[in-house]
Symmetry: C2
Subunit: 213 residues, 2 copies
């Protein structure tokens, strides 16, 4: 598959490109130069041209790149041309914030269920999303055809949550529990650690001149 | 400065090493092998040895690496041996979750103030943290010697927040507003975009075999 050849740093930038092309398309811009894209994203134009070369041939001499085609192509590579169905596990402060996060729907993600071990929270509706008791997770994830679980539990609950998720056949996990999950054979895991982001910021504040994060 | 020579991918892993060495130190483990560290972090031992070589000479033939010394050194490089003072800007769902996030204090970060434009929220105390009206941000950040602002406002407010922050002399920003901030001359910025993390997960789910995130 040709997507396998896209280098990891380019993959990390795909979301920025998608955002840039989506904004340009929304403003009815038809063609864009690598210099313009570079300026919006904060890269150098040579890097942009190198990245865009992975997405196919959309340049037209003297015109630049075709915005709509690039947008479609990047969206297809990222897999966001389809809608992903999400569940949030752990309805504490962070879980509630993620469940009601306004930025998901625009970008192809739909939260369809929440789970918590606290019986007092089961039955809640938050922004139209039903909260279930954690015990029902296997049944509900299968029934609702949920693709991705967003984990916002305390880190002590992470092993129990992952054990249950393995029974559901879920494909992906975004882990906010604050403990790094290693590679998993059946579930694709992505770890988000807020304190880690602050540590990286601390590094750049401590070692000024090492470049901006 | 020697820290400038640490390659970016190693910098990205410093937090994982710090976590690993802190846990080992807490369990009174004195020496550790690169194989053991590799297993905990999910890397290969050769990569671990290469990374650790940037932190100085802590290996002892037949004993492995000295845990406490490595922990101190990584913490010094990351800048987390000191305490950073934080403010959260925007006290919506996400801002509240960040303000009360239990993982910060353990790792050298202390939230000392919150800000919101809503007069109804000014005067609140959340987990012992005072919420101020946004208009007071310049005065309070200077008085409280706040180092880092965590922005959790809607993206529409981001420009106004950054303009005010430039008046405060603040050093760093962790941006959760959902719009990517470019490099800034005076403030070191780190962007966290939850939807972007989901897009990256979407990529790996769509292109299975491209490796795990």
């Amino acid at each position: 598959m040709k997507n396998k050849k896209i280098p990891r740093p380019t993959v990390n930038r795909l979301s920025l490109y998608l955002k840039c092309f989506s904004d340009l398309a929304a403003s009815n811009v038809e063609y864009v130069s690598s210099e313009q894209v570079a300026k919006v994203i904060g890269l150098n134009p040579a890097q942009v041209r190198k990245d865009l070369a992975h997405f196919g041939k959309f340049g037209r001499r003297g015109f630049g790149y075709h915005v709509e085609q690039l947008k479609e192509q990047v969206s297809k590579i990222l897999g966001t041309h389809r809608q992903w169905r999400l569940a949030v596990v752990g309805i504490g402060n962070l879980g509630r914030a993620l469940l009601m996060y306004p930025g998901f729907t625009d970008r192809g993600f739909k939260v369809v269920a929440g789970f918590d071990t606290d019986p007092a929270k089961a039955g809640w509706e938050l922004d139209g999303v039903h909260i279930y008791l954690f015990d029902e997770i296997v049944k509900v994830i299968k029934k609702e055809k949920i693709d991705i679980a967003v984990i916002a539990t305390p880190k002590e609950a992470l092993d129990a949550v992952m054990a249950k998720l393995h029974e559901t056949g879920i494909k992906g996990v975004l882990n906010f529990a604050g403990r790094h999950l290693l590679k998993d054979h059946d579930i694709i895991v992505r770890n988000v650690d807020v304190a880690l982001e602050l540590e990286q910021l601390s590094f750049f504040l401590t070692n000024k001149g090492s470049g901006n994060g």
